[in-house]
Subunit: 297 residues, 4 copies
């Protein structure tokens, strides 16, 4: 049982905290809006007045926030996490943020005699709830070993990837395929449908084929209709594709299918359906093909 | 034990004939160059002088040839398959050819009081050898039921999809994802590699993630080096993408990621590496990124 | 005054015949539907019963038809132009058709001891009416010199480009830029408009800039509204882009911006606005951006 | 004769200062490295110790720097331009920077009781030298009227476009077409060349056609070889395309041809030829086509 801190209680962060509480661990939390913390406080978590206090009260402190700017907001300044770190503590960022920023932050954290790991989670909040999430970790290997038991309470597959920033880089490298695979799948479904094969049948057969990655398997059926809960909307996906495209420019790697898919996400936003899961890439292409879908464009 | 005919003895056709012989079935074969038939003749197949004769001597006659033009070449004219069909026979085309052509041919076959099915195979010759190939079938359902036991001798997963042309359409819809998924995977690997993660490690982690479709799982490792045997080269893949793009234009379905990937296959040809498996899409992007690979561009 | 034949009396062909009659030349015409010939017959042209007869009655016979298949339809067979050619005659194809087909036809024409030139026209029917069209010519230089005075009656800028097929190849190389330039222009106008600059003002300023090719200058204003008469619809443009993309595959030249623009033309068709001038590429992107235009998508 | 300040003495800034001196105006200058100012100081310009001092000594102060960050660097802080502004002064930014940043800066400038205009220049340093540059201006109309005579000393075509940020937005909207037009032109030249038409001839004919924008006319010939002086390299062009793509995301305008061309610029960088004028887009496509050019890839 460890003293664990958690900053950022969105859908994903909350799911992770639930698993930490069940481990059980002592969990101190903070979120920009306290409201979202309530169910967790009822379940046994403690509230802290700032990210700094979370860090002060924990051996290991996690963040899971929207983007690079949000990571900076909760780590920097007098109330930020870094101000609360000290010798032996480990700061673990689970956000998908800029790898360059991760490396800068890791250097700042080291100045406090603490250590930072980047540890993005693969999967959705559902995967976390089911205890099936996998976690990739970048950064110092000793720090990784110390934190590993806590990470395993979140998900069973935990592996160390390399130096600081490497885990978040791989996450970005993986996530661009999510969006591109979804687009290609949608192109295929529309071809089949306009050839006279019912959409349901096309999805069924394609999900039984060699292109059915786990991602295509769980997201493909969304072309038949969206559930109420949104897993990963176009804005979130576009944030990740932008990280990929920035990295590509910086490292001089052309990313043609990512770039094209990114513009289709922009179209989703332009058509007013960007709040839905990025599987609406199908609906964007459907609108361009004159095909009706469950989503009103 | 049925009288079966087989026209087109490339790598894939030969693998299928081996399974038909092992079933066992009586197999009569024909190929444009007789040389390729020799190993099969030694294994018990019989040679016929023309595609027409193959059809005359068989209850069920198969074709597996390169493209739409090749299908026409072995079916039309006085020595073609259609001239050898008669009441009750079934002609099964396993090629990936134009669905419009399939429907035209099916109508011609019906005039001979026979029936035609389109039955593209999913997988490679290795999958066939292992008895794991899956076969999608389009066309008349009665004809399908009659041919089904023979198809099951080739691969265990045989399913009827819909009217004539629907199976080959789905095959095309699936195959475009093969190429696009490979491109997106390559974009990710190059990002990781140029970030300092060894290519082998990047591949390993990405193959353990949600983007690892069966296709990515067996083709992804080719970014580390190509085997001597080529599974599916850029010309073959480009043929399939062209079928997709033609269908897209005809049916008014825009296929942006397919179109972009197709131009990268053209680049593979332009760079002189189009004879390799289409996994060289990685090497095309690597050349554009200034990254060395095992393939000399 | 020469004996001139003209096959193919669409908007462009009719404009050219009007100039030939005004030269004046003796003009014999044929068209798939006679109706379109009527105004020209009233203006002095003579009707022939078939393309062959046109060729028989002329020293120089022109064609201007929709595509490669249409060129074959009026040249081949017992009633085709080739059947009516003989020593010394020149056949001039003004269509934008496949360069490979042009070279094949030129060889057939040579067998009749006649000669073939490919001579696509740059510009629209309006440019022809104003006597400003320019004509590029491929094929034998002597034949070119003989035909040159007649071509100059159509437009003042006539120049010989190289061997058979070279003029139509350049036409294709130019036409792909028409479509891509229009797309890029539209992207810019939409950026400006959504930034708060009135569309009219954005068009005006951009037409005064270094990107204002003659094409952008006359087609750019169509983003403000389409005239009743359609100059060059999406189907016609897509035919030309397909010729470019086929040539690119054959010659191993990747054409990424052409490929992407081609899919947007497919989207125009899918959205039901493909009958309009290809400047509707703007309206396609506008629909993807949630911007209203004069065209109902 | 006005008291004019100029900050940023690259190739373009220096050309403009030469014209201001010739007008004649009193010109005070500052540059990050003083060395570049020497020829101008010899020609009569005065050196100031900081951007702030330039602003203090001038009625109108200009900046022309690399990007948004550089604009901030010379305007903010105790030594920045804003610290040197006061009632009645006008600050004119000629850089191509983020329009959002322009609007923020304009608000800060207004707090000093001064006014800011964005005034990007269309053309190259050669155009400026020849007195042919055109200048688009965004911002307050009164401030524009006061500055107009000075702008006219730089180039004859000066026009007011709209509120703050609108001129730089239009500049971005225009510049994306520069890159895309160059790509499409290159695709066409390569098609023609691989068809057997000499590259020089293809360029000549295409420059005589309707696609020959002024940009294509002066940059097109670079596909035959690059001059020693680089006009606008891939890094500069990519900076502008990134501004376009960011604006596109923010405003929800998909920019497919811009996005694809941007990845080709990344490829230019990856291939090690990004220091050349962005006309090397031709050489990138040539390398992908297996065609030799004057540029060593």
């Amino acid at each position: 049982m460890a003293e664990v801190g958690y900053v950022g209680l969105g859908v994903m962060g909350s799911a992770i905290v639930r698993r930490l509480l069940a481990a059980p661990h002592d969990v101190t939390v903070w979120n920009r809006t306290r409201e979202k913390a309530e169910p967790l406080l009822e379940a046994g978590a403690r509230w802290a007045a700032s990210p700094r206090e979370v860090a002060e009260q924990s051996e290991v402190v996690f963040t899971m926030v929207t983007n690079t700017a949000a990571v900076r907001a909760v780590t920097e300044g007098p109330d930020g996490i870094i101000a609360g770190l000290s010798h032996g503590k480990v700061y673990v960022d689970m956000s998908t943020a800029s790898p360059a920023n991760t490396r800068e932050l890791a250097a700042l954290v080291a100045e406090s005699d603490a250590q930072m790991l980047d540890a993005p989670v693969s999967g959705t909040s559902i995967t976390v709830d089911q205890g099936k999430a996998s976690i990739m970790v970048g950064g110092d290997e000793d720090a990784f070993e110390r934190v590993k038991p806590i990470l395993e309470a979140i998900g069973p597959k935990v592996f160390h990837l390399g130096p600081s920033g490497s885990a978040v880089t791989i996450k970005i490298a993986i996530n661009l395929s999510l969006a591109v695979q979804m687009t290609a799948f949608s192109e295929g479904v529309l071809l089949a449908e306009k050839s006279g094969i019912p959409r349901e049948r096309a999805v069924e057969v394609m999900l039984a084929s060699v292109i059915a990655s786990p991602m295509v398997a769980y997201r493909g059926p969304l072309v038949l209709g969206h559930p109420e809960e949104v897993w990963f909307d176009c804005h979130m996906m576009q944030k990740d594709l932008n990280l990929a495209l920035e990295l590509g420019r910086e490292l001089k790697v052309p990313l043609p299918t990512t770039a094209v898919t990114n513009e289709l996400l922009t179209a989703a936003n332009g058509m007013g359906i960007g709040e839905l899961d990025f599987a609406v890439l199908f609906d964007v292409l459907a609108a361009m093909s004159g095909v009706q879908t469950s989503v009103q464009v």
